[in-house]
């Protein structure tokens, strides 16, 4: 027995030694295509380890605490300025990397990272509403789906507990701008949310199969996630609220204290290759920011109503900035009140 164990551990050591180079990625759960990682490992010989997080704040708190051992993190655009100003990111200059030429020009000079000195697009999408059309056939391009729910959907609604997104949607529904600290608007938001909540069934993440199995009929959700729901249940549709809905982008950044700096930079360059970017989208079903990736994507990505925003609703989509801390504190209060 002891010999077997010794042999096994020797093998394990050898296997570990086969990869001289490593890369530790810290990313959202259920978000990274295993095929993408296999391809990266095969091409570079770098062994990749992925750790999941479930919110931007979790990631930020963990990395700030130190001793995390991660090289790469994938924050949402509203958090990128925080990561930069807290001095957590390395200025890797993706704009000088080989594959930078593939980045869609409209994603280069973005507010959160002008000229792309730190980050590379991973995926971008929208936060909208999901509706099972078997139970409701009215207009779904409105936040009223969850803020003033139609009779048919009441009691079967789920709102993702993502304070930023939900507050922005409620504020725009009340006629305000994202990150507003206008007390009049916020008072209206507070009232609308508290009134609406009695019609909600849950405030939970990860509801793919609950929607597919029709435990839930409507709610707030992200477009790619809704796409994956529709693939399991054809009655599911995605709506773009005309009152306004958030746009977002998650970007690949390298941590300042990364132990594998070169490998991390190689990964940033790697995901800017169209074929690789297509792999990212193929899995999580969100658009990426790389031109030419369409050619490598599954057919259904080109025409999916969750990906292709209707022309007349394009203007309603907004990238919200990073709210001031005092404003954020107000939102937290409303959010706590909502769930008391």
């Amino acid at each position: 027995m002891r010999h077997v164990l010794a042999a096994a551990s020797a093998l394990a050591l050898m296997a570990g030694g086969a990869y001289a180079k490593e890369l530790n990625i810290y990313n959202w759960g259920n978000y990274t295509n295993p095929k993408l990682i296999e391809k990266f490992e095969a091409e570079t010989g770098i062994k990749v380890t992925i750790t999941d997080y479930d919110s931007n704040d979790t990631a930020l708190a963990k990395v700030k605490a130190g001793g995390h051992g991660f090289d790469i993190v994938v924050p949402t655009h509203t958090y990128v300025p925080i990561w930069i100003s807290e001095g957590l990111l390395a200025e890797t200059r993706p704009d000088q990397m080989e594959n930078f030429k593939n980045m869609d020009a409209k994603w280069v000079d973005v507010d959160w990272d002008p000229g792309r000195h730190y980050t590379v697009p991973w995926q971008w999408g929208t936060t909208g509403v999901v509706v099972n059309t078997k139970y409701y056939s009215g207009d779904i391009n409105t936040s009223a789906i969850f803020l003033d729910p139609p009779e048919e959907l009441r009691g079967k609604i789920n709102v993702v507990p993502e304070m930023g997104d939900v507050m922005v949607m409620a504020i725009m529904y009340a006629g305000g701008e994202p990150c507003t600290d206008d007390k009049e608007v916020l008072k209206k938001v507070h009232e609308t949310l508290l009134n609406a909540k009695q019609h909600w069934l849950g405030m939970d993440y990860g509801n793919l199969e609950k929607f597919a199995k029709e435990d839930l009929w409507a709610g707030v959700n992200w477009n790619g996630s809704t796409f994956r729901m529709r693939l399991q249940n054809e009655a599911i549709a995605y709506g773009y609220p005309k009152e306004g809905y958030p746009l977002w982008m998650d970007s690949v950044a390298v941590l300042k204290d990364a132990k594998n700096m070169d490998e991390a930079k190689a990964f940033q360059n790697f995901v800017m290759d169209p074929e690789n970017a297509a792999l990212i989208s193929e899995f999580a079903r969100y658009a990426n920011g790389i031109s030419g990736s369409e050619a490598f994507m599954p057919e259904d990505m080109m025409t999916a109503p969750e990906i292709v925003i209707p022309e007349e609703l394009k203007a309603a989509g907004k990238f919200n900035g990073t709210c001031a801390p005092e404003t954020q504190a107000l939102y937290t209060r409303i959010w706590t009140d909502l769930q008391k």
Partner: protein, 310 residues
């Protein structure tokens, strides 16, 4: 030294005693160090943080402030700046507290008969039943909770069976209700009640029960006056083991209750996460600890007084 010892043998004994004590301390040392580092250390951090100012994006700024503590109970109104009771915190606390009480009572109702059943089995079979009680511990809590979802959901096992049997004609909404939370919590914490009560029933001298019957005690009287006082230590231990973790429970209420209403654990998490108010989070968790301590002291006092009265 040896000269002295020869004259005063008592001292030698004391010396041996001291050495024995020292070695016992040495044996306990690793545990003491771990407890100090793992419990007292973070606790001190929490105490310090609760008196600081929140940083802009989480963390704390090293500036003294009582705001965190004050905000656990009173807050400025969002809209007109008047000081008001932090009713959100209080109602969330009350929700967690009553859920823990209900869970404790339910596990008592289901746990005591179970423990009694196991303890009165022939000795060879008890291990088997105890073994069954521990089976749920083999799986991760989250996995078990999600498995319960499969039972409760609209197209879940319970609804399908009831529909097939014609008892109901539309699925009952069980998931994301208080019933689901109570069901899940009772299931998760039941073993923590059964095991200590079993240990107490196992030690029960059944001749005392027979004696009570000989003295014309009915079944209820025998249970109340003889059995209950004897297994009380087990019930106390079980109640404490169930009540305390239930207060901080957060996975089960979230997954089965749908997360629409915060539990105290979620409220604390919110402050350290999206809320970015670590001092308030620290103050809230210390408040929870204080509440647990007070509840425990009260419970132990009341139950031990009854014991001496009885």
């Amino acid at each position: 030294m040896s000269e002295q010892a020869a004259y005063r043998p008592g001292e030698l004994e004391a010396e041996a005693q001291a050495a024995d004590n020292r070695s016992r301390w040495m044996l306990a040392l690793p545990a003491v160090v771990i407890i100090t580092l793992a419990a007292a250390g973070p606790l001190m951090v929490m105490v310090v943080y609760s008196f600081l100012t929140p940083g802009d994006y989480g963390n704390v700024v090293w500036k003294f402030s009582l705001e965190g503590w004050m905000n656990t109970l009173v807050q400025r109104d969002i809209f007109d700046d008047t000081l008001i009771w932090a009713d959100a915190h209080l109602s969330i606390f009350w929700r967690s507290f009553s859920l823990s009480l209900i869970t404790t009572v339910l596990t008592l109702i289901f746990g005591v008969p179970t423990a009694w059943f196991i303890a009165t089995q022939p000795p060879g079979k008890r291990e088997f039943w105890l073994f069954l009680i521990t089976v749920p511990f083999w799986t991760n809590l989250l996995v078990r909770t999600i498995a319960i979802q499969e039972l409760l959901r609209s197209e879940g096992v319970i609804n399908l069976v009831l529909l097939k049997l014609g008892i109901i004609d539309a699925p009952i909404q069980m998931m994301f209700t208080n019933f689901a939370i109570g069901f899940g919590m009772t299931y998760v914490y039941l073993p923590l009640m059964v095991l200590p009560v079993y240990a107490a029933v196992d030690k029960l001298d059944f001749r005392l029960v027979e004696a009570a019957h000989d003295l014309y005690a009915g079944r209820w009287t025998a249970f109340r006056r003889v059995i209950l006082p004897l297994i009380k230590p087990g019930i106390i231990a079980g109640s404490i083991l169930v009540f305390i973790p239930s207060l901080g429970a957060y996975v089960t209420p979230r997954v089965l209750g749908g997360g629409k209403n915060l539990m105290f654990g979620n409220l604390i998490e919110l402050q350290f996460g999206q809320g970015r108010n670590w001092p308030l989070g620290a103050a809230l968790s210390l408040m929870l600890m204080a509440a647990v301590m007070i509840a425990l002291m009260w419970y132990v006092r009341v139950t031990s007084r009854e014991q001496s009265d009885g």
